[in-house]
Amino acid sequence: MSGGSGGGGGGGGPSLMDSLFQRTLDDLIKGIRLHTPGAAQSSFISKSLDEIRREIKSTDLQTKSTAVQKLTYLHSLHGVDMSWAAFHAVELTSSPYFLHKKTGYLAASLSFRPSTDVLLLLTNQLRKDLSSANQHEVSLALECLSVICTPDFARDLTPDIFTLLTSSKNFIRKKSIACLLMVFSQYPDAVRVCFKRLVENLESTDNAQTLAATVGVFCELASKEPRSYLPLAPEFYRILVDSRNNWVLIKVLKIFAKLAKLEPRLAKKVVEPICDLMKRSEAKSLIFECVRTIVTSFHDYEFAVKLAVSKIKEFLLDTDLNLKYLGLQGLLLVAPNHLWAVLENKEVVIKSLSDVDRNIRLEALRLVMSMVSDDNVTEISRVLIGYALKSDPEFSNEILRSMLTTCSRNVYEIIIDFDWYVSLLGEMARIPHCQNGEEIEYQLIDIGMRVKDVRPELVRVGRDLLIDPALLGNPSIHRILSASAWISGEYIRFSKNPFEIIEALLQPRTNLLSPSIKALYIHSLFKVLSFCLHSFLFPTNSSLSRVIDEPDFTYSESEGEGETKTFSNLFTKESTVNMLTLVVTSLTPLTETHDVEVHERVRNVLGLAKLAQEEISREVNQNDFKTSIIVRLINDALSEDLGPVSLTAQERVVIPDGLFLEENLGNLDTICANVNIPVSESFSLVKHVLTDVDYVSSQQNEESSEMSGVESTSTSLLSKHRKKHGLFYLPSDIPENDSRNFPPANDPNNQKDNDVEDLVRLTEESLVLKRKSNVPRPRPVVVKLDEGEKFTVTRAKTESNDDLISGAVRDVLLGNESSSYKGKSHDSHLKDGKSEIGDSSRRKSKKKHKNVEENGERSKKKSGGRHKGRQRADGGVNVAVQNPVIPDFLL
């Protein structure tokens, strides 16, 4: 209905008809409920939106108000955009009718965002309502401001909020206090104006709600930067002892948890009252807060921790799942400092692994993981595998995932028996629904490369997985199979029966694999095949080389000899011919495959196999075989071990004589001065990296020299080894080595004993199975460096506003001269009479105070008592000496 009479009212708004027959909110909601969700409903909504668009332009405030109200409903519950109606909401807030005002403010607080363009139009209205005589209007404005506060609002309205802080109406006061937190965060300078009144409210005992709001604000402020609030500790202490309001007590506990970390003397003082609370209180929430405070911040006080753990136990045994969950969470908090508490409750924790509630199970799992150490990892893993087998797929995978991450932490720090761990990985693969194929794949190969001793066992585990046709049916563990295939190919010399592996790699169900894994299978087949041919063609050689090549495996000597025997039995002519036939017949169909990778690899294998087949069947002298030469060459190439490559390996390559990287670069820069963006990026890379490393290493020097002092002789031996073979260690170790000095060529000392001693040490190490425990030792230093750097950077970025707040707070609390100057200029800028007076008088007293303090500092002990008296007189602001120390009377 566009209505012809529209021209009359001005603004071309809706007609009288629209106003008369406007749908109410109830009509709208009923309408929406009548239409089935989906197309019908959304078409009804868009029809109503059209109506609203028309009605909202009405000059009649009632019509407009209803329209905005309907729109707000659609916005908040049906996600309809209402940013276009922002102006209408502002308009309603200025209505003399409370109902309209309320609707306008509701719409504003639900839909306005910092980017809303009409935001500034609201400033005046907010100011007017904040100083209104009607307390309900004040409260509406405060509620709205607390949600949509922006730096502009905060700056412009600080004086009004300041006035409200002393309002005689408690509920206005408490609301303005709550609002302060938003104002502070948006406009830190407001702290200078309002902080004193906030502190005064902390001392007001007349109204519990006001106190709660004030403590809430302090709790939030202190959680960002606690140090500034240390001088207020006596006030908080008083509240902790006197208050009976659980909500307030919880907040005060949170504040003390922060403060006590900064001031140990404070901890001594408050730990008793907290324990009293814990014993006395009936409220679970308060008890839990006490427990949390004790175990996170006061964990040095044995008696308090004991009490807390006994409370945790009560929670754990409760039938209420919520409490049980929290009990587990409490244990998790105790765990880092008091593992005994977890061990004491081990049974409950393990039982919780099969709880009905998923969150409880997860929490129990995290706890179990926190208990893991190198002594009990075997036992715990056995238990966990049991749970993984009977849990639902999701949780079962969660268990596996945390086992994998825990065990591989710090380069398998907690694993001593790698044979056991590798077979555990194999076991994991067989758990139904195992989704962690990728991680297991990674670890199998990683361990293979890092830990030489475990390779025979690894090959055995790989074989067991490979020959099981059932496993091929589960796509999620194909990755594990691919790792097994690679291991079997790479370390085939440890295999008891290579023919078996060839059969496994060729079994028909391998066509279920994806082409990339299939290609890996065939490549592994190639390795195994060449190994078999080599063993057949050079029987003595091969068995000899096994002993010579791998001196560090002499521990299995007896076994090895037995193997050699079986090997010479194994590689008879008949068996070799059979094997070749099998390879040729199974692979020939694959030459038709469309995947290039598979195709290529099949061709390679077939080429070798057919050649060998032909020559062996011709029964000529073995030494004349062309195959012999080829096989020897291939085998030599393949028998070289692949080691992990460090990420920074490139940097360690010594720059050859006559190659002047940096000079060339300089030329390039002048030549390509205009197009320097892409060029400099790609070419200056080396230079950049080097300088970075320089920087890092110079920083690192201090730390590493400290470290070397502490290190025992055995570790220093090891670190020598690291220097020589850094290439085989993980990348993160490198900075510690000071990679600039690294290249062995520059270090004659290193070079000298390199070869002989090294071999000896290598063998020694591999004999001592615990080698790994030494490997990760220097890692923490490196990691710390990285984290530290990142940390400072991010902090500088994100906390600027908080810093401003705490800076201002410190100025106010400590009466810092120079910065209160800043505050003064600002106050006058605000041009608010009241705040000006209140503030300057305060400053004067503070100035005086400071002078006295400077004198008093010398004879601080003596004047301790008087000091306190003066502070009390000074409106209760606890001015401490410059260095934020707890005033003596607390201690």
Binding site: S146, L181, Q186, G216
Partner: protein, 147 residues
């Protein structure tokens, strides 16, 4: 009535904008079909984000409790006291119950503006305001007289 705690998830751009967070980030009422019946966000969120919010939200935890067919969810800091907020939810429900005398889902739907008013008396700037049921009911009475 089960507790939940959601693990950390990605932080997005708005986080930097609001450095001083309210403690309660949002309150959400949903029915068993997942339909939102009331939502109030104490931090600015993009519309698209609001509807993504489920049980995991940034680095906070969501505390929820079910009353008949309605889930009451509160999003608070990871270090906040779960039990206290469960009590808080319960108090809110009691207030609603008292105000609408035996509240049901439809009451909340048809009186959504009133529910917001109650909420504003109860929680302000993400902070719990008033723990007295009587005080809030009285205030609501006064507010109704204003209209």
């Amino acid at each position: 009535m089960t507790p939940t705690s959601a693990p950390a998830k990605v932080c997005s751009s708005d986080e930097a904008f609001f450095s001083g967070h309210p403690i309660i980030r949002f309150i959400l009422l949903q029915n068993r079909q997942g339909k939102t019946r009331l939502a109030k966000y104490y931090i600015p969120l993009e519309e698209s984000e609001k509807h993504k919010v489920e049980y995991e939200f940034r680095t906070h935890k969501v505390i929820y409790r079910r009353y008949a067919g309605l889930f009451f969810s509160l999003c608070v800091d990871i270090t906040d006291n779960e039990l206290a907020y469960l009590e808080c939810i319960h108090l809110f429900v009691e207030i609603l119950d008292h105000f609408f005398s035996n509240v049901c889902e439809l009451d909340l739907v048809f009186n959504f503006h009133k529910v917001y008013l109650i909420l504003d008396e109860f929680i302000l700037a993400g902070e719990l305001q008033e723990t007295s049921k009587r005080a809030i009911i009285e205030r609501m009475g006064e507010l109704e007289k204003q209209e």
